[in-house]
Symmetry: C2
Subunit: 133 residues, 2 copies
């Protein structure tokens, strides 16, 4: 079943990834090395596409490549590791929260400094002042 083959270009496109990214994933062992044609071109199956989509989706959600490696291992059939996966997701949510808080703080500082610029009485640039210049 589903013995249709795809070139790396098609695979990449179907998963919304860059072709060289796919080769990169193979090099670092995130994607398995696919079979080749006689001429040496990579020849992918549907399972490769699933894997690549999984990786891309995880990346889009902000997981690092090492975390994705773990997620892949945990998603193997037969591995009962839902709790671990959930914990990883929760940790990740926490780190996202921290980054959001950080960005909101920055935003506040910058916004305030830029807003002061409306005031024509200020002689020195308030943004530069906020930066310590």
């Amino acid at each position: 079943m589903s013995t249709r083959r795809m070139t790396i270009g098609r695979l990449a496109k179907s998963a919304g990834a860059n072709l060289e990214t796919v080769r990169y994933y193979e090099r670092i062992g995130l994607m398995p090395a696919p079979p080749r044609t006689d001429g040496g071109h990579r020849s992918y199956l549907f399972e490769h596409l699933q894997r690549l989509r999984f990786i891309r989706r995880s990346r889009e959600l902000g997981f690092g490549l090492d975390a994705i490696r773990r997620l892949i291992a945990l998603s193997e059939p037969g591995v009962q590791a839902c709790c671990e996966v959930r914990d990883m997701a929760r940790e990740h949510v926490a780190s996202i929260d921290a980054r959001i808080a950080d960005l909101q703080r920055l935003r506040g500082v910058l916004q305030k400094a830029a807003a002061d610029c409306r005031n024509p009485e200020t002689s020195r640039c308030p943004v530069i002042e906020a930066l310590g210049g």
Copy 2:
């Protein structure tokens, strides 16, 4: 006035930066090359510290090194460029807003998937499912 000299170590510490980062900034032309002692050690003045603090603060606020280069040029005395600086700050606020929105979206997806884990009826791990595995 203020002819006190500092070593690179002191400078770095005073600005909360890493020593090698200071050398890196010098290499890429973000910090000026300071005078040297007879033995060849860098010898910094207070103005260097001001500059380094400006850079670090800008970095903390999320500006890239190229943007900081422009900010430094615009903060030179005699340059009346408050509007440009303000525009840079505003652009930066906009990009921060975009990143925050992005992170909040991710957070939503992850949070929802992780929350579904409480439900013991689900056979497949909902987080893995959300990732497309």
